[in-house]
Symmetry: C2
Subunit: 339 residues, 2 copies
């Protein structure tokens, strides 16, 4: 069995059933005004959500989304054997504080905006490897906690370049299981770090696009699938500029991504009307789009096979200040309605 | 097979062979002056290691230790299917920059000072689950990059309370494999988050000790083993105060930890002579003690069964400033010379 699971240097195939038996998303006000407004489970108008700080609000997004995902899976907290969560805030505190009362065996992860894909990947490995029956996977981000930590005080009102993205306020959580009803996770393509020398922290789409293209190309080569196999290939979150770079880079490798290619950062906002420039970003963006929109579309029969490609820019304010380039990574998770 | 792997809510047993086939440690000057000086592979006198910043020096510690561990395992970089690394620096950049040129499928993790145990756990799951043949696991810390980020400028020369610990400058890395010669990872006990209301970031031993005691008690209960089964139960890194709290807490649960109990933070420094107060800390502390001292002792036949219990305080400077208590976690990894 062991040898069969590997399809290439980066790709593995699940041997047994790994199903997404529960998924939930909670987002903020701006996300609730976007095109996917009807897909999220709950929307919250108050950026503080009744808490004293944005970090505590983000923690609450995680907590509430976790409870909702477990409940939608028909499980209770004590049924969950393992959880993988992470976030953008220093030392991933929104995740550890979010998990504090749960008493679920906990592994913290960090993959920047690729965290949703990383958590699904590790969850799938744990379930398929026989280490857990039910695993919780997810992440969050918050516009205000991210701006405060990574950029400028909100009160400063700094102007943003057209390539900048808007950090999504929201959380997405899933419950994976080896039993029950749900979408199948069939393959994982784990990313390698890709650094193309981009230094502009306001152009993370350009920094991450080569990693996304590389992982998509590798996944298709390793599985022998054509891009058309997927009803949707969803990167997240490159924004509109990064998305067009992915199209260019895959084209140069003789792979044509058609209308089935989209980006979670582009999907979540109306980039023309919502003043978000290149689109959404933050761990919570691809998490909420997956757990809200994409899985709902699969449940309704509108999508059968989806390649979810989480993309992360692995920078920090310190690395930027020290003149470093931005390493990026992309992990692909293949999800199908049947196996 | 699946059901057999679980021995309790938090403990799993490896079904096949998961071996530590390579291990390496590189530490700084102060660590090289401590009692374990002869156990590390390389010691580096210059805190910058020829780099322009402490963060870049820590990155170099990771890179060089990775190369050494892979080489000592008799492998090349292209043999490694997966890597799990993390660190304390914001957004775990020492790990992502350390992995940037390797082109190894990469998962970033965050477990504060429990990172070494977390990386070993996830690596073991990946190998035993059949997802990888060879996995790299490890972490680092650096006294100066940690002080700068978490505490006060070094130039300030602030006085430290007796409960404070000294962040180790160093890195420890292992290569796990399903083939070859090495120590066996036999069981994992994954920690749940434990928060006992400690708010003092200068007393992290007290914050982490209940998590460590809880994981040790759970591990022994789940496996049916007595404390004496282990030649060494090594927590890391609680320091001398935290260590005595673990003794008290386990005693209250009718478990007596004898001379076979020690703490990596106490082992790495001469706490009386080296002015480190309660002992060492930082992800690199338990990593270097495991990959330098403990595994060497096992290779030399002086230790047969070891329970390595990585402990992490999941705080941030922001959470402390917002008056939050300190959540902690401990993951146990059982390592034996034979299976």
């Amino acid at each position: 069995m062991k040898a069969q699971k590997r399809l290439g240097k980066q790709t593995v195939q699940m041997a047994g059933d790994v199903k997404i038996i529960g998924n939930a998303s909670i987002v903020g006000k701006k996300e609730a005004e976007g095109p996917l407004r009807n897909d999220f489970d709950t929307t919250v108008d108050d950026g503080y959500w009744g808490e004293q700080s944005w970090e505590k609000a983000e923690t609450k997004f995680q907590k509430e989304t976790i409870n909702l995902a477990i409940s939608k899976a028909g499980k209770s907290i004590s049924d969950i054997n393992l959880m993988f969560t992470g976030d953008l805030i220093n030392q991933c505190t929104c995740s550890s504080f979010g998990a504090r009362e749960l008493q679920i065996p906990f592994y913290g992860i960090f993959g920047a905006c690729s965290t949703m894909a990383e958590s699904l990947s590790l969850g799938a490995i744990a379930v398929d490897g026989g280490f857990a029956e039910n695993v919780l996977c997810g992440t969050s981000s918050h516009f205000a906690s991210a701006e405060k930590q990574f950029r400028l005080p909100l009160e400063y009102g700094g102007q943003r370049p057209p390539t900048a993205q808007w950090t999504v306020t929201g959380s997405g959580m899933t419950v994976l299981s080896n039993e029950g009803e749900g979408m199948f996770i069939t393959h994982l393509t784990t990313g390698v770090i890709n650094d193309n020398g981009i230094k502009d922290a306001n152009n993370m789409g350009a920094a991450m696009a080569p990693a996304a293209a590389d992982t998509i190309i590798t996944h298709l080569r390793d599985t022998g699938r054509q891009p058309e196999f997927y009803d949707l290939i969803a990167t997240g979150d490159l924004g509109s500029f990064g998305m067009s770079i992915v199209r260019d880079l895959t084209q140069k490798n003789d792979l044509s991504l058609g209308q089935n290619y989209n980006d979670c950062g582009v999907m979540i906002f109306d980039t023309k009307k919502q003043d978000v420039h290149a689109g959404g970003s933050g761990c919570g963006c691809s998490a909420a789009v997956l757990c809200g929109h994409i899985l709902k579309q699969m449940q309704e029969g509108n999508l059968k096979n989806v390649l979810f490609v989480g993309t992360g820019a692995l920078l920090s304010t310190t690395s930027v200040q020290q003149g470093e380039t931005i390493p990026a990574i992309a992990h692909a998770v293949a999800i199908s309605v049947s196996k």
